[in-house]
């Protein structure tokens, strides 16, 4: 299932850009119980998020299930106006997704 992603890039001083990325993802820890069936809900969370600038990885984020659902992750990368920032993620069930945006 395709999950929607939103990206926001804010330009900072000294060639640094703040990249904010929101992924629509349940982020199940694997510790929660279904209230009706009393069964544990299996873990399902994003494990890796890569922030690429012009095809080169600038930041590599590993996440645990303890990140809130629909995670909003922010990092600072070196990027100038016109550079392309690509965010790609993968979760523990093998789902992946990516989004691209140019630095304003």
């Amino acid at each position: 299932m395709a999950r929607t992603m939103k990206m926001k890039i804010k330009k900072k001083d000294n060639g640094i850009a703040e990249v904010l990325c929101l992924v629509n993802h349940p982020m199940e820890t694997g510790l929660r119980k279904d209230k009706k069936t009393k069964q544990l809900i299996p873990a399902h969370h994003i494990q890796k998020m890569l922030f690429d600038v012009n095809g080169k990885t600038a930041a590599d984020v590993s996440l645990a299930g303890s990140i809130s659902k629909n995670p909003l992750i922010g990092v600072h990368v070196k990027a100038n106006s016109g550079d392309t920032v690509k965010v790609s993620w993968s979760d523990n069930k093998g789902e992946t997704g990516s989004a691209e945006k140019k630095v304003p």
Binding site: S62, A64, V75
Partner: protein, 154 residues
Amino acid sequence: MQRRTFLKSSLASGALLMAAGAGLLKPTRVLAAEWNKDAFTAKDVASAVKAVFGTSDAADSDKIKLKAPALAENGAVVPIKVSSSLPDAKKMAVVIEKNSSPLAAVVDISDGEPFFSARVKMGKTSPVTAYVMSGGKLYKTSQEVKVTVGGCGG
């Protein structure tokens, strides 16, 4: 005859499914580094930090800024922000001490500034610690976040 061909085709697709399940068919894009399973499944802070940085000796530093609420009403969504002015910071981690698996996030920076923001889940009131590796040494800073309603389990 029809039954025979049906059996054959179902066998073939079954084998393909099994191959995919066993991870033989790798996704086209190979990720830069593997997810550090030992660190993320560690049950105590010391072993989680050791699995990430190779050492658990960290010195307190005021050059790491950790922004977190002093009181979080909803433990399911606690906004945190980590930034640092330490030189040559290449790796950062966020640890929530009293969560059942304390390590929340690890950031590897290859081309950028040490900065990370996210929203985390917290089971109960606990210190949140940010670790930054700078020039081969480990630094940390910590803040207690009070949680009135937990966001893990239930």
